[in-house]
Symmetry: C2
Subunit: 348 residues, 2 copies
């Protein structure tokens, strides 16, 4: 069954009013905001029908109406004005992200903060690996006879390095042999495979060389596994307290600690669409059932996928948040494109 045009208009007014005021909307107020001049009595009749159809709810008999999740869903799908970001806003986003961000952690937390401040709701940002990252090259740089720098280049064109302290002295002359060994036998394979190869080699080479080799390999394994893991940052959780629906300290506490802890189970958009809106009970997660989540994804190179989302009350300003979030996701993607561009693909 379809809604009449007038019902849709009324629903839209109710939702947008409620988004701003967080208070039940009465028939009179609607009549005032509606361009068609209809009396509040007519509106009341329509409202009664909208309630019986499940698009609106009544907190108690003599209060105004508030939108139900079903109502929000219709709003998001059909009624909402899809906002475009102005140039000024796009500019603002870019500026917010334009500080130097070497480390992934920092980039994420910076982005999270900027987003949260921008939409006035808590935000989370994640960079999730979809594919294993492999080592593509090793270098060993002797420092002195007991220490040595390992440099590892990875498939995503990042470089990591660390100073290793050695248990046994190593002859600097052996270093090139070792480097060669690493670059022929330990490159482009999974971490499990790396450990296997290490075992196989344990017999064939002198012990002090093996020791250095195994330290290097275990460092590499650690880094690679970490790089494949999810990295999640949340920001702006204190925004929750500004919302009337979370005046209750217990509720606020529940949500805040969920956001602080759970680096898992945060909603993500489907693979084919870049943006997803989850309204109240549509969230599988218990802690989020009273809230709505708007989440976008962005690509990081070919093999990774990042998440950037906003958590708010069900009456959140979907239209604005969705637009700004898309803007952010786009900006993030462009950032990573610059950052991760493999040198082979450089064209000038």
């Amino acid at each position: 069954m379809n809604l009449t045009d007038r019902k849709k208009k009324i629903l839209k007014v109710v939702i947008e009013d409620y988004i701003n005021s967080a208070e039940p909307v009465g028939s009179k107020a609607i009549a005032g905001q509606l361009d068609d001049s209809v009396s509040s009595a007519t509106i009341r009749n329509e409202l009664a029908e909208l309630v019986s159809m499940g698009y609106l709810e009544q907190p108690h008999t003599s209060a105004g109406r508030i939108p139900s999740p079903k109502g929000y869903r219709l709003y998001v799908n059909e009624l909402m004005d899809r906002q475009r970001l102005s140039m000024a806003e796009t500019e603002k986003i870019n500026r917010a992200l334009q500080t130097k961000m070497e480390e992934l952690d920092r980039l994420l937390s910076q982005a999270g903060r900027a987003l949260s401040a921008y939409v006035s709701y808590p935000a989370y940002v994640a960079a999730a690996g979809r594919k294993r990252i492999l080592a593509t090259r090793f270098e060993l740089l002797p420092v002195d006879e007991r220490s040595c720098i390992v440099v590892m280049m990875m498939g995503n064109n990042h470089v990591k390095s660390q100073l290793l302290r050695l248990q046994l002295k190593v002859d600097p002359k052996q270093i090139p042999t070792l480097t060669n060994l690493l670059n022929t036998r330990f490159v482009g394979i999974s971490t499990v495979e790396m450990n296997k190869r290490l075992m196989e080699l344990s017999e064939g080479i002198p012990p002090q060389m093996f020791l250095l080799l195994s330290q290097t390999v275990s460092y590499a394994v650690e880094i690679l596994e970490e790089a494949g893991q999810k990295e999640v940052v949340t920001a702006g959780t204190s925004q929750i307290l500004r919302l009337p629906e979370f005046r209750d300290a217990d509720k606020a506490h529940d949500l805040m600690s969920f956001l602080a802890d759970s680096k898992e189970n945060l909603p993500a958009p489907d693979d084919n669409s870049p943006l997803k809106i989850l309204i109240g009970p549509e969230n599988v997660n218990k802690a989020l059932q009273d809230t709505s989540v708007v989440v976008a994804s962005y690509d990081i190179g070919d093999d990774m996928r990042g998440l950037i989302g906003v958590v708010g009350p069900t009456r959140m300003d979907y239209s604005t948040v969705a637009a700004r979030l898309s803007g952010f996701a786009g900006a993030m993607q462009r950032l990573f494109e610059k950052r991760d561009l493999p040198p082979e693909q450089d064209k000038t």
Copy 2:
């Protein structure tokens, strides 16, 4: 003017009771907890004097007493049982910090979370540089003709590396010359000095070499300046909401956003003492005037100093928090000792 023994005992009972209950303490309750059998009437007389001396306060005429900042101060200085951590607790701290923590960021945030969970109050952790960190060695590793890995070793024995993409092709044969140049002219000097030297060299060498050199140097400058900066992490801010004194959402919000934003101005202990307790108005910072802060410092090598602190209500359990915080600070220090041990000092 000094307090009698009995007054001190009473004060102690009041404070410890209030720490647990967050509610004004009456004369009867005190009489019950006091080993000397004195009647509540006597206690009342004593209480009246303690109020007039400024150690206690009365929210209103017919309520019990609550400690004043002055009272807490006396308690912290004299009356408090200095707790020792049990072996089990020390063990617990170490275990909490024992996960692998390569990056400084992670170490701090891990520590912050562990501490906050352990004391049930919000916590902050900072690693602040006291001295400039200088580069001690450079390596350049060619990847292909348009890209190149820079590896820089720093005074604190950390190593950083990054893939540089080059504007102009560079002949791999020139790399050793460049490396040599870097290691003779750009090592052990300040970032300002580095930029100066770079300018001086701009004429004397071929342009494509200079380009690579300047990219390398600016990368180095960036990293070094960042390493000298403060790194602050806060954790467990949601704990605030569990406290009755922050049931008021506005108060909670103020404090939380202060903690989330202000990476500056967080209290630090004096140089000579490892632990500092700041009670309510003793905090210079406005946002902290209704709270108490316990903060400890730990050394990172010889040139850095870290901060680790807990924020709570003025009625916070100083004795337990102080003990646990010291434990944490010690554990952090040991961690950094392991991590930063310069190779020259290795003795076996």
